[in-house]
Amino acid sequence: MNSSTPGAVRVLVGMLGLDQHEVGSLAVAGMLRDAGMEVIYLGRFNTPAAIVRAAIDEDADVIGISTHSWEYIEYLPELMNALSKAHCDAAVVLGGSVITASDRDQLLEMGVAAIFGAGSASQDIVAALRTLGATRRAGLARG
């Protein structure tokens, strides 16, 4: 469905698995809204399948996963697989405090578009998401 205006980037924000720490993802959601994006907030306890479903229903440009537990190591590959199986072209972005340097490389290899550690500046996150959103929209416009 392309009922959205090209202007507003649509971003899913949510957490996978049993990760409890919601403060970070709520803060990011507010920050993205204040940067003019439309944030579809999914909260805690999502399965990869539910995220894929939401991304398709909502025509999301970007899927932002917030993680503060080690579970992402298990869930991210599952999410990336499910997305490609569903032909969903939303860009996946991971943010959180626990991502190690070696995991980082592996995740990027897997197709994760960007990773933000605990110290990331909010304007960098916003700029990256804007670029990802614009890139996807341009792709859609070309068909």
Binding site: S3, A29, R33, G36, V39, Y41, E58, D59
Partner: protein, 282 residues
């Protein structure tokens, strides 16, 4: 967009409205699951306000509807983007697209504030207005004008103290407001699903009644058209003297040069087509 309008049946639309925090999302999710279990193909359109400062939006309704995956309910969130008239337009388009995607019933959750709501509610075949206990002044439980736009009134959070008071107030308001006495008034506990099957029943009955009314309207229109046709024919051929003119034209025309179009034009020149005001319907 236009081609969609000609290709697919519009879905039935149920609007769900009420002040923020009354449980619209929770109830909408429950209703969607209930309808889906009854075999209907359901979608939800959840409308939330855009931030007037940044133009961005936090669309949090999905969070309150964790059950949708199990029931194949499609949920689309939408921001008001500041434009009230424009929102109604694009909401109508999204509803149409959902219909073209095979969804026969669309539940629209609206923000519950202001003009945007009234605009979106106009798209709905049935509108549910939600009130809850504990909103301070009991009589304030429902805003002026909302009563009239409701097809069904729901007191949600009926597990809370004060639900009976709100019900009593609403009953009084229904009694004293012209034209709304027959509105169903139901109580629900959306978090538990209590009262949801009854609400679904009432909504389906309402949609059915509307359809029947629509059919009646179509039948009536057809009958009136028949009357007009008959009247026009009568006024042309008989009372208007068309038959006589035709007969005289036929005696004058050379049989070999007779052409129906030519005679038709001559007939019209002699006998102008009757207008409806000349007809003498009884």
């Amino acid at each position: 967009m236009e081609s969609l309008y000609s290709r697919s049946m519009p879905p039935d639309v149920i609007g769900i409205t009420g002040s923020p925090g009354t449980g619209k999302s929770t109830l909408t999710g429950r209703l969607a699951s209930e309808f889906s279990e009854r075999g209907l193909s359901v979608a939800i359109l959840a409308v939330d306000p855009s931030s007037p400062y940044s133009g961005g939006a936090l669309l949090g309704d999905r969070l309150r509807m964790p059950d949708l995956d199990r029931h194949d309910v499609l949920l689309r969130s939408m921001a008001t983007r500041g434009a009230s008239g424009g929102l109604a337009r694009s909401a109508a388009d999204v509803i149409r697209i959902l219909g073209a995607a095979g969804r026969t019933l669309v539940l629209v959750e609206t923000v519950g504030i202001g003009q945007v709501d009234v605009d979106v509610a106009r798209l709905a075949d049935m509108t549910v207005v939600i009130c809850i206990p504990g909103q301070g002044d009991r009589v304030q439980a429902i805003k002026a004008g909302l009563l009239e736009s409701a097809s069904i009134l729901v007191v949600n959070k009926a597990d809370r103290d004060g639900a009976d008071g709100v019900i009593a107030d609403l009953q009084t308001m229904l009694r004293v407001t012209a034209g709304v006495a027959a509105r169903p008034l139901l109580r629900t506990v959306a978090t538990l699903g209590t009262g949801v099957p009854e609400l679904a029943d009432a909504l389906l009955a309402g949609l059915e009644a509307r359809r029947a009314q629509c059919e009646t309207r179509k039948t009536l229109a057809g009958e009136v058209r028949d009357l007009v046709d008959e009247d026009l024919l009568q006024s042309f051929w008989t009372t208007g003297g068309g038959e006589q003119v035709l007969a005289s034209l036929l005696t004058r025309a050379e049989l070999s040069t007779m052409n129906p179009y030519g005679i038709y034009r001559a007939l019209l020149a002699a006998r102008p087509l009757p207008t409806l005001s000349q007809c003498s319907a009884e």
